[in-house]
């Protein structure tokens, strides 16, 4: 069995909604029928075969080659299997996904993991704003799952997230973890201003001391937190690319907040990079 591979024939002129291309939707279809699936391209509907060269037969393993930022809604509502994308993707990556793995070998646009409730998204590049956030008017953003970003992230990461983990190995923008209900955001690079503003519960874990912490966060001093040890061990066991978490130690400077909301959340600034 070889992976089902979609290779983009040429750069699309308009946004292309590829939400039908998920392991769930293709499960019972033959290759011919897959080629006949209609995608929303700009304001028209076009068949898959007009835009993609399709080959392979393993519907649980989908590969999209030569992707670009015009492709939106990759892996929307998927519940199983894996999608690997070689190239960039546009907005709404993994929107409302429930399970499965999406790997992007490139950058992603805004609203990645919007409303996701399970599964894993690996992005080996940068992401835009509102990763793991909810739409305006939604009560919750991301509800569960894990988003791992190797590069940098934009503003308002995890806005109103409810549960789950977002790992940003590069820098994060302003309003990181704003209004989160619960969940964990880990930033290994620098963060912008207003981190965790309006947060209710949950943890924002920073490896580097931010230049600015909102006045509504209360310093609780340096604490040795066993939960950090458990968390990092768990993360390093998930996959090989997260194995470096073993080096992060359990001591952190804790800021409780946002006191303007109810003060049950925390910003943890990791103190030492001890090797075990």
């Amino acid at each position: 069995m070889s992976a089902l591979t979609f290779t983009l024939k040429s750069q699309p002129k308009f946004t292309l909604d590829v939400s039908p291309i998920t392991p769930d939707n293709l499960q019972n279809l033959t290759l011919d029928k897959i080629k006949k699936i209609k995608l929303i391209y700009g304001k028209e509907k076009v068949k898959v075969e007009e835009l993609f060269a399709v080959k392979g037969n393993d519907k649980n393993e989908i590969i999209i080659n030569k992707s670009c930022t015009q492709l939106i809604c990759v892996g929307k509502k998927m519940t199983q299997g894996s999608i690997a994308v070689k190239g960039d993707v546009g907005d709404f990556l993994g929107q409302s996904m429930k399970n499965g793995i999406i790997t992007i070998h490139g950058n992603a646009g805004s609203w990645a993991g919007n409303g996701m409730s399970g599964g894993r998204i690996n992005i080996e590049g940068n992401v835009g704003n509102y990763t793991g956030a909810g739409f305006p008017g939604d009560t919750f953003g991301m509800k569960n799952g894990l988003i791992n970003i190797t590069g940098n992230a934009g503003d308002r990461i995890g806005d109103r997230m409810r549960r789950g983990i977002i790992i940003i190995q590069g820098k994060a923008g302003d309003y990181c973890g704003s209004r989160i209900h619960a969940g964990t955001i880990i930033v290994l690079g620098k963060v912008g201003k207003h981190t965790g503003v309006g947060m209710r519960r949950g943890s924002i874990i920073l490896a580097k001391k931010p230049t600015y912490i909102s006045a509504t966060f209360q310093s609780c001093g340096n604490l040795k937190m066993q939960f950090l040890r458990l968390l990092f061990t768990q993360l390093s066991n998930i996959s090989d690319d997260l194995i470096f978490f073993r080096k992060y130690g359990p001591i952190a400077h804790r800021f409780a907040g946002d006191i303007a909301r109810n003060g049950k959340g925390e910003i943890l600034i990791l103190k030492t990079l001890t090797k075990r």
């Binding site: 739409f135 305006p136 008017g137 939604d138 009560t139």
Partner: protein
């Protein structure tokens, strides 16, 4: 140009026509007498075996004004779940419980409705309400101005101004806001909420003004009578949704003192406190009182199961209900210190005792009130259910076995607590024609609508009789609006723009002197900007204004 509808079975309660074969002639948008034989008939529609009624009229549906817009903004999931694509004729839209203006207009027309009336237009918000209604195509529109908790009026009452001054104020409000009637929502209660009162009974005084809801009701009902406004005072009473409020409602009916009064969504005001759960039906008492008092008319505000959103000006009761919000988000706000607004999404569940009993109470009211001329078919869209469920409601009223099937599927205790299973009454097509056409038109003073006599506007709906009344009423064969065919087989074939109905009661303009002083001192806009010009409603080609005569 003459159009003839031939061989149809006509239901026209205004003229006492109950299912008789009649031909209908339309000329220039109006229904006319049979022309002389030498006149050429330009178009003949063969309506063989089809049912012809006037276009339906919904006299209580929240399709415009600030609160619906808040509901739209607050419920993106409602819109995401119900998308409507554009067609060659119609524009795109979305929304189930709080549909966009265009979609609301299209859906009403596709159900055979040709006129809808927004019941809660706050004077300060009336420009927004009229703009939204102008954006609602296909149907005729109108609105009732909502007063009773506004500062100026309460000051007048508190300082014991004479009735003539109050009538002048009410008349000025109707003129300034281009309204068709007067509505009062939780009389004085919205104001009392701001002074930390969390409940206000009919004879309880507003802490700040020292005015009771009874004073407000009587003053407004008198003003409406004196000004000769055709539609009686539209009352959303005290204690909405409170178990035991049946007493308050009966007292409200007595408070009318023989003056005409329309009590709206009375289902929410018909709850007793009997039984183990201290929640029971008061429908029998209410129906008895309505049957006895010919000055009272009601609309039901039927609850139907499913997700919807409750949008009301009654911030006091909406605040009390916000604990039940589903999904968990809500808005209660003040508007210009004159009234309030509460939007709470709600899901009525058939297995929930209270919701199931609410459903049964609404149906009991429909079936126990004898005179269909004084009870109107509403769900208080979107508070009880979206208006798209009207055909389902009609089937519940017309089909006893279907009703009993539904009754057996709801919460067992609620079904046992209700007397619904013992009621045999079934509505006839004639009764439905009364309660959805003739009676609302008469109540609103629309003389040339709601009937099919000579001189009436040719708003006509044609159905095919089917055993399943839900199917029959959800998909009319033809709908004519002002003599033009707008819907064929439940699909829009022509998009038209309805008119806005208003009133111009006479009053003493001297009231503007004190209003001007008040506006300059307290209001956010000047008196001149507060008034709505005719041009503002008709500009951009949005319909026309029809001024209805006063009594």
């Amino acid at each position: 140009m003459y159009i003839k509808l031939t061989n149809g079975v006509v239901y026209d309660p205004v003229h006492g026509i109950n299912g008789e074969y009649r031909d209908i002639y339309i000329r220039d948008g109006n229904i006319t007498r049979k022309p002389s034989s030498n006149v050429k008939i330009d178009k003949v529609y063969d309506m063989k075996g089809k049912i012809i009624m006037a276009g339906a009229i919904d006299l209580h549906t929240h399709i415009g004004g600030g609160k619906v817009n808040i509901a739209r903004m607050m419920l993106p999931e409602d819109h995401k779940a119900d998308l409507v694509s554009k067609t060659e004729l119609t524009r795109s839209g979305c929304g189930h419980a709080a549909p966009s203006t265009l979609t609301a207009g299209y859906r009403y027309a596709e159900m055979g409705y040709t006129a809808c009336f927004e019941p809660a237009m706050l004077p300060a918000n009336s420009r927004q309400a009229h703009m939204e209604m102008a954006d609602t195509p296909m149907v005729d529109k109108g609105a009732y101005a909502m007063i009773g908790s506004d500062d100026f009026f309460l000051r007048m009452l508190a300082s014991k101004k004479d009735q003539a001054a109050i009538s002048d104020y009410v008349g000025w409000i109707i003129n300034a806001t281009q309204a068709l009637g007067i509505k009062v929502v939780n009389p004085g209660g919205i104001s009392a909420f701001k002074f930390n009162q969390r409940k206000l009974d009919l004879d309880e005084e507003n802490k700040y003004y020292g005015v009771s809801p009874r004073d407000i009701l009587v003053a407004l009902a008198r003003a409406v009578t004196e000004l000769g406004i055709p539609h009686p005072l539209h009352v959303h009473g005290c204690n909405l949704g409170v178990p035991g409020n049946v007493e308050t409602t009966l007292e409200t009916i007595r408070a009318a003192e023989g003056m005409r009064m329309h009590i709206t969504h009375i289902q929410f005001h018909s709850y007793g406190t009997e039984g183990d759960k201290k929640f029971s039906s008061g429908a029998a008492e209410i129906a008895e009182a309505v049957n006895k008092n010919p000055n009272i008319s009601i609309d039901v505000g039927q609850v139907l199961f499913g997700q919807t959103v409750t949008a009301s000006g009654d911030s006091m009761r909406q605040y009390a209900g916000h604990w039940h919000a589903h999904p968990k988000k809500w808005v209660v706000m003040d508007i210009e210190c004159d009234a309030g607004c509460g939007v709470v999404p709600f899901k009525y569940r058939d297995k929930n005792f209270v919701n199931a009993l609410q459903w049964a109470i609404g149906l009991e009211l429909f079936l126990l009130v004898d005179d269909p001329w004084r009870i109107f078919l509403t769900t208080d869209h979107p508070n009880g259910a979206p208006f798209t469920s009207y055909p389902h409601l009609i089937r519940l009223l017309m089909d006893r076995s279907f009703r009993n099937d539904m009754l057996s599927s709801i919460n067992k205790e609620a079904a046992a607590a209700s007397t619904l299973s013992s009621i045999d009454r079934e509505y006839s097509l004639y009764d439905i024609a009364i309660m959805t056409r003739a009676a609302p038109a008469r109540s609103l003073g629309l003389k040339n609508r709601g009937h099919l006599g000579s001189g009436a506007v040719a708003d006509i709906t044609v159905y095919t009789e089917k055993k399943d009344k839900e199917k029959m009423f959800s998909k009319p064969d033809y709908v004519f609006k002002d003599g033009e065919l707008i819907v064929r087989n439940g699909k829009i074939v022509k998009v038209v723009q309805g008119a806005t109905h208003t009133l111009r009661p006479e009053f003493d303009m001297g009231i503007e002197k004190s209003l001007k002083r008040y506006f300059d001192k307290y209001q956010t806009m000047s008196l001149g900007n507060f008034k709505i010009d005719d041009d503002e409603i008709v500009e951009h080609g949005n319909g026309k204004i029809i001024v209805q005569p006063c009594m």
